[in-house]
């Protein structure tokens, strides 16, 4: 990737993080939340998603390709930073570091999650409530999934904040501060939904 196009790569990275990846993550967690209404409700919701027309197209163009670009370019971004939180312990500097740490966690978590679910489906296993209940019968997996979900909700919420700055929507310090509060609330709400769904499989 040529360096003089990096402005466009970065903007694409920022955009794809929200649309479609961020929208997909939100919708994924909402569908998972159906598990709190029982196995049948979850199976109905996930069955609807799994039987959408042109599923392969949706999967590749709404999920895999944007997600892979966001993930791999994001790892490059993360490793070109030299964090200095020891010297500058400001709130935003910690958010900067956490955004990069959660990003790297997510690359590992999502790779594992896809292996455990989508690839198993391709190999002939049914993706349903029982599959997740089975995976989450292992306490280590519960902890790993909880870490993955909270990393995802944080990365998305803080990503919305930096999206608003990166595209020049929030310019004034005041608007950036209010965006911080709103995205933090979004982080908490989405985390409760995500972890609530996780606990429904146990």
């Amino acid at each position: 990737m040529s360096k003089d196009r990096e402005f466009y790569w970065r903007r694409l990275h920022s955009l794809l993080g929200i649309i479609p990846v961020g929208l997909f993550v939100t919708q994924h967690l909402l569908i998972n939340f159906q598990a709190t209404h029982g196995a049948e409700a979850f199976n109905t919701a996930s069955g609807f998603m799994g039987n959408l027309p042109f599923l392969w197209f949706l999967e590749w163009f709404v999920i895999y390709i944007p997600l892979m670009f966001h993930a791999f370019y994001g790892v490059y971004i993360a490793f070109t930073a030299a964090p200095n939180n020891q010297r500058f312990g400001t709130f935003r500097n910690w958010m900067f570091l956490l955004q990069r740490i959660t990003g790297v966690i997510l690359v590992i978590f999502i790779a594992w999650h896809i292996f455990q679910t989508r690839i198993q489906k391709a190999l002939g296993t049914e993706v349903d409530y029982d599959m997740m209940a089975n995976i989450l019968s292992n306490p280590v997996m519960v902890a790993f999934y909880a870490l993955g979900i909270i990393s995802a909700t944080f990365h998305l919420a803080n990503g919305i904040w930096s999206f608003l700055v990166s595209w020049g929507i929030t310019q004034s310090p005041k608007s950036q501060k209010i965006a911080t509060y709103i995205t933090l609330i979004f982080f908490v709400v989405l985390s409760v939904i995500g972890v609530g769904a996780l606990l429904a499989f146990i």
Partner: protein
């Protein structure tokens, strides 16, 4: 007064003999005088370059010029924070004073660094108002007074390098030009005559090492000794480049107005 016991200032300096050699630390004990700044401590060491252990050494090299925090030359890392040594008062600092060169820049010797990359960046983003021509262009458009007052804050930048030193994305494996030259683009694009070339500057910061490298850690605005709203400048430029990006692609008759 003369009966009082002489107080001393304890200083530790990270030294380096030339740009290629390894850094090492030396400790000094300097006679205290009231109202000392870090520069006067360094001058006292220069008068008597002997370490605390009694070893004769070379005077410390550092840069300085205005001594009133407007030139930016004497920036160094003092007790872990990048700042100007002229306005760093010993009475307000914890001892031992720890003096280091700003690690973002190549060290020439001791605390003396080469800030050329910042001046190269200013050239790259064309941080000036071009008025040269083959004939007299006459007076430029008038600038509203309130805008002048606002732009004056941005013009306080002294290219000291503290914002680059504080930025986690300005480092040896990134070619990010840093906050200072970006904010200068906002300054010159706000100038009524300077704005006649704003698309050129915006396209320059949309290139390699430009605006998009900002990771919004926002250390720069906290570290800037002049209180320049650097992160507001970056967000403003993000908006301007968003518009510029669409103008470049879809075409526009309003590249400069």
């Amino acid at each position: 007064m003369g009966n009082e016991a002489q107080k001393y200032v304890e200083v530790e300096v990270q030294r380096q003999d030339d740009s290629n050699s390894n850094p090492y630390w030396e400790k000094f004990r300097v006679p205290y005088r009231p109202n000392m700044n870090v520069i006067s401590v360094l001058m006292a060491i220069r008068e008597n370059p002997v370490t605390t252990d009694g070893k004769q050494t070379t005077p410390i090299a550092w840069n300085m010029n205005c001594l009133e925090e407007v030139c930016g030359a004497c920036s160094m890392v003092i007790n872990g924070r990048p700042r100007q040594s002229c306005s760093a008062l010993v009475d307000q600092l914890e001892q031992p004073l720890k003096l280091q060169p700003m690690s973002t820049f190549p060290v020439i010797r001791d605390l003396q660094i080469d800030r050329s990359r910042m001046f190269d960046s200013l050239k790259k983003v064309k941080a000036w108002v071009p008025i040269d021509g083959s004939y007299d262009l006459g007076e430029g458009p008038r600038m509203p007074e309130r805008k002048r007052e606002w732009a004056y804050e941005l013009s306080k930048c002294m290219t000291c390098g503290v914002c680059l030193e504080s930025c986690p994305n300005v480092n040896s494996h990134s070619d990010f030009i840093g906050p200072a030259p970006l904010s200068q683009v906002r300054l010159f694009n706000s100038h009524p005559t300077g704005a006649m070339n704003k698309d050129v500057r915006l396209n320059a910061i949309m290139g390699e090492g430009g605006l998009a490298n900002c990771g919004n850690a926002q250390n720069c605005v906290a570290a800037c000794p002049k209180g320049i709203p650097l992160t507001t400048s970056i967000a403003a430029l993000n908006r301007a480049t968003t518009v510029q990006m669409f103008r470049n692609f879809f075409g526009s008759d309003h590249m400069v107005d």
